[in-house]
């Protein structure tokens, strides 16, 4: 399978307290993936803003990679989505908002709309940093889903480019896949055995997926496969938080309806309370 490359990266730039960190992260990403960078600012181009941006970029250590700035007024959602399409972006970088007084991050309504409709991969940063913080470990979902193969593939690509050492593939297995209800010691024994069987089956499925990935990509990363019986989309986020992963890679859901928003599932759990940086693979 031909690996997808990130050739063009788009980042939304707003003059918030976070601007320096956001811009620096984007510059670093473009360096690491060797991709061209497009900064999109929603708003009129003014000389003050331009000067401010230049001043910020001047603080970047080393030579900043080449980039373009795209100024356009309008609704943020439309401007950013149009820019992604017209620039044929492969990756869109967005910043998350921290919940007041707590170590919790979520997406604002604008970022959420963009995430749902973006034509490319989306990277949600919960804590952009001015200085480089190494990305050490990642978590990717290993669901039985047609898009999973692509997500795992992308996780390898992104993490190895970011210089990470560890990748955990989390297989979320719905609780009801074990048909046995635990009532007493005997049913518990049966359900434990059934779970072990399902684990083996899931592990071999993931192994088959991994066999398709070229050796040279795999050799740099320590690989862990962790089956978890629990709510889909929720458990992986909680796991990423507990295991202090730096990046969580998820597939984009096939489609989102009003129903999904009322009854959160899969991605929605993660978007409403970001456990770490999240990459959504499209």
């Amino acid at each position: 399978m031909q690996q997808k490359q990130y050739n063009t990266i788009v980042v939304g730039v707003a003059f918030s307290p976070n601007i320096q960190a956001n811009v620096f992260e984007a510059l670093r990403m473009s360096e690491m993936f060797n991709a061209s960078l497009v900064m999109v600012h929603v708003g009129e181009k003014t000389s003050e803003k331009e000067a401010a941006l230049t001043k910020i970029i001047a603080g970047f250590e080393g030579n900043p990679p080449p980039f373009r700035v795209f100024w356009r007024a309008g609704s943020p959602v439309e401007v950013l989505l149009n820019a992604c399409t017209s620039e044929r972006a492969d990756l869109l970088i967005l910043g998350a908002i921290k919940r007041e007084g707590l170590l919790k991050y979520y997406l604002g309504s604008v970022a959420r709309k963009i995430t749902r409709n973006a034509p490319c991969d989306v990277l949600l940063l919960i804590k952009p940093s001015v200085n480089r913080v190494a990305c050490a470990s990642g978590v990717v979902n290993g669901l039985a889903h047609p898009k999973t193969e692509e997500a795992i593939d992308r996780a390898f690509y992104v993490l190895s480019n970011l210089g990470a050492q560890k990748l955990t593939i989390v297989e979320e297995i719905p609780e009801d896949s074990v048909a046995i209800k635990v009532d007493d010691d005997r049913s518990l024994r049966k359900s434990t055995i059934a779970k072990e069987r399902i684990k083996l089956r899931e592990n071999s499925r993931v192994q088959r997926l991994l066999n398709d990935i070229p050796e040279q990509v795999k050799e740099n990363l320590e690989l862990i496969v962790q089956p978890i019986f629990g709510r889909r989309g929720y458990s992986i986020g909680h796991y990423a938080r507990v295991s202090r992963a730096d990046l969580l890679v998820m597939n984009a859901p096939s489609k989102l309806t009003l129903w999904d928003r009322l009854f959160p599932h899969d991605l929605e759990y993660i978007l409403s309370d970001l456990p770490t940086d999240v990459l959504i693979v499209r």
Binding site: V182, S191, T192, E222, Y239, R241, Y269
Partner: protein, 731 residues
């Protein structure tokens, strides 16, 4: 099982059943009378319950029969539905009993076996105490031979002096004798456990009460003149015990009051049964887990049958069950034998039973009521926390003033309000209530079950945690981590304590971590613990958690020092390249070894600041060395990767030990010295403990296992490792 085992098992069950039946008989009669049912109704419930639940039940050593929790609702049902006519009220109440049986059966099929977990433990306690007070006050009047006085708990309480004076001024000789027997019976109940005589203890206390009454009767028939106590104060049984089944009257099914009764009976009987089953599981010598849903179905069916035969609700009862266990019962047949003996006894001794005064049965119930509302219960609530006492009293008083359902709902609401006030945050609950909050998986490395909880964990969402915990085999090790959880309430902690015991009994272990930094203002281990407000984190004004006590024990075992808070340690990590950029917020639970050269501590540190801030809670081991060694880091997964950013530090190869070189990352800035340090002995030693992350700054070593606090067992292992490491290096 061979024949002999079956036979000896059978024998102990028959014996246990017999002993239980001796207690069950007076209790069944007394509970029935107190409930406004004919005395035989209690016997019917016991016999039917014993037979049906023994055959169909899902628990092992429980005893079923009429329960004391139901007395108040059933009496209410008989008075309210009968509108003054006790006989009519009884028939209406029977209909309610039957329908509550149907509901229970339904609960069983719908798998509501964990219903009682939805109520805060303190509110349930408050409700039970209110029931206890009501029983106590009502039966106190009966004990003094007054069958007429009715009224609310408060009226009854205020009437007690008048009751006693009226006995002295207007009492007849018969009443005098009856009250005398009552008082002596109460004294027997109270002092039974305090009298240390083997002969006395051959017969259970309630049976002594019955024997006293029969002896009194026998004395008067021997001396002549007959029993001086009037017929009204003696137990009345139907002439033909096996005939004349009453017909339940369903005609009030359209009235809301009727359904109120049905719901109350169902709720109370299921709570009482579930609490009893939970408690009895802890007593079972064979450590079996009861199937509560199956038991609910059996109890429901038994209640239906009992109701049609004119009996009371069948519930699982704790006192009789524990007597059963104490007499070596080991399976459900004991319940059956208790029913069988009871049946035979009532048939054979019905004439004797008719001579028992109501006052002596009332004495037994006064004592039961007192047990439910004893001052010890209040003291315990106060010890757990002032807010628990508040919830407890609120529930108790509102239950006494209104009814059981309203009472427990007010208790539930009060608990929630207290939680919101304690946290000063309503959104913590409103925002996260419906979200899943529990993660469970089997750690690949240790094969432990890891259970993580976020947001909050209270009676509102405990069932989510419970379902996960129930799926862990109890002979395995489980780690429950609350470090990401802002608030944990008393109900959860009490239930977890229960789980800890169950795991321990089956050879496994359930350990709780991450609670030590939560705030509490009580010294009780079950006190509510909150992480909010973060800024005001005090250094342990309150009580210690179980983990802290275990760590302290660990230190004392070694003759070392244990300190909850250790402020002076804050600076010590600064000398380590890896931890240089971290800011240590707290060092706590410090255990210090010989000459302070070895220490183990929990640490809260954060990396980054403001928006990039990340908090980490873990346990570190610090080993101070006598000599100099090279600066290095040793790691299997390269988790201490940050070192590689520092100048001149590389991953070092060991050509002589290719396997070691391949499996582990050793980093440092002086390859030559490091290779010299890792000789054959060191290589095999370090390989054996490859799951630790080790950092050396030349003078001391910092050892870490997980990015979470270590359980007491893991901490003990770390200390042993530290001692061995020091020995190895210092020689």
């Amino acid at each position: 099982m061979n024949k002999r085992a079956i036979f000896s098992g059978m024998r102990s069950n028959i014996f246990a059943g017999f002993v239980v039946s001796l207690i069950a008989m007076p209790l069944a009669l007394g509970l029935a009378i107190a409930s406004g049912f004919p005395p035989i109704a209690g016997i019917i419930a016991s016999v039917v319950g014993g037979v049906v639940v023994a055959i169909l039940g899902g628990s092992h050593v429980t005893i079923t029969g009429p329960g004391n929790g139901l007395v108040v609702v059933l009496l209410g049902a008989v008075t309210v539905l009968g509108e003054g006519d006790m006989q009519a009220g009884y028939l209406y109440a029977l209909a309610a009993v039957i329908l509550s049986g149907v509901l229970l059966l339904l609960f069983g099929f719908l798998r509501f076996g964990s219903l009682s977990d939805f109520f805060p433990a303190t509110a349930i306690q408050g409700m039970l105490s209110a029931i206890g007070i009501t029983i106590l006050l009502k039966q106190l009047y009966v004990m003094f031979g007054d069958l007429e006085t009715k009224g609310s708990a408060l009226e009854l309480f205020l009437g007690v002096p008048a009751l006693i004076t009226s006995l002295f001024t207007e009492g007849t000789t018969g009443q005098w004798y009856a009250a005398g027997i009552g008082v002596v019976s109460l004294l027997i109940m109270v002092f039974y456990s305090k009298i240390r005589s083997r002969f006395f203890h051959l017969v259970p206390a309630p049976m002594w009460v019955v024997l006293l009454a029969l002896g009194f009767d026998a004395y008067f028939s021997f001396v002549g003149g007959g029993n001086p106590i009037s017929k009204a104060l003696l137990i009345s049984l139907p002439e033909n015990l096996l005939g004349g089944v009453p017909t339940p009257n369903f005609s009030k099914w359209t009235q809301p009051a009727f359904w109120g009764v049905v719901v109350s009976i169902t709720l109370i009987s299921s709570i009482e049964s579930l609490l009893s089953i939970k408690a009895v599981d802890k007593l079972d010598p064979q450590k079996r887990r009861s199937n509560t849903n199956k038991d609910m179905k059996a109890l429901g069916l038994a209640t239906i049958v009992s109701g049609f035969l004119g009996g009371m609700n069948v519930v699982t009862v704790i006192a009789r069950s524990s007597v059963n266990v104490n007499n070596q019962a080991n399976n459900r047949s004991a319940n059956f034998f208790h029913a069988a003996f009871l049946f035979i006894m009532v048939l054979v001794f019905q004439d004797q039973l008719r001579r028992i005064p109501l006052t002596s049965l009332a004495a037994i119930l006064v004592y039961t009521g007192y047990k439910l509302a004893a001052p010890a219960v209040f003291v315990r609530m106060y010890q757990i926390g002032k807010e628990q006492l508040l919830v407890f009293l609120t529930t108790l008083i509102s239950t006494l003033l209104t009814d059981l359902i309203t009472g427990i709902l007010i208790g539930l609401f009060a608990t929630f309000i207290v939680h919101v006030l304690l946290n000063k945050a309503f959104w913590l609950f409103s925002r996260n209530l419906l979200k899943p909050n529990v993660l469970m998986y089997k750690e690949n490395e240790t094969q432990n079950y890891y259970v993580g909880i976020i947001h909050f964990c209270t009676f509102l969402n405990f069932y989510k945690l419970k379902t996960k915990l129930d799926k862990i085999p109890q002979n395995e090790r489980a780690v429950v981590d609350f470090s990401l959880c802002s608030f944990v309430d008393h109900t959860v902690q009490e239930s977890l304590q229960n789980y800890e015991e169950l795991f321990e009994r089956k050879g496994g272990a359930l350990e709780i971590i991450g609670l030590d930094i939560h705030e509490t203002d009580s010294s009780h281990p079950f006190a509510v613990r909150t992480l909010r407000p973060l800024k005001k984190l005090r250094v342990f004004g309150g009580g210690r958690t179980k983990r802290q006590l275990q760590l302290e024990a660990l230190a004392h075992e070694k003759g070392w020092i244990y300190k909850e808070a250790a402020a002076t340690q804050k600076r010590m990590l600064r000398d380590h390249p890896v931890y240089q950029t971290t800011s240590v917020e707290r060092v706590y639970n410090l255990i210090e070894g010989p000459n302070k050269r070895l220490s183990l501590f929990d640490i809260n540190y954060s990396e980054g600041a403001f928006i990039a801030k990340e908090n980490i809670q873990t346990t570190l081991l610090r080993v101070q060395l006598e000599g100099e060694i090279p600066v290095f880091s040793f790691d299997r997964e390269l988790l201490l990767e940050k070192l590689s950013h520092l100048a001149g530090i590389h991953d070092i190869d060991f050509p002589d030990y290719p396997e070691f070189s391949r499996d582990f990352y050793v980093q440092g800035n002086n390859p030559k010295k490091i290779r010299a340090f890792f000789d054959a002995k060191m290589v095999s030693f370090f390989s054996a403990y490859g799951f630790y992350h080790i950092m050396s700054n030349g003078r001391e070593l910092i050892v870490r296992q997980f990015l979470r606090p270590a359980t007491p067992a893991e901490a003990a292992a770390m200390i042993e490792f530290g001692l061995a490491l020091k020995e190895k290096i210092d020689g």
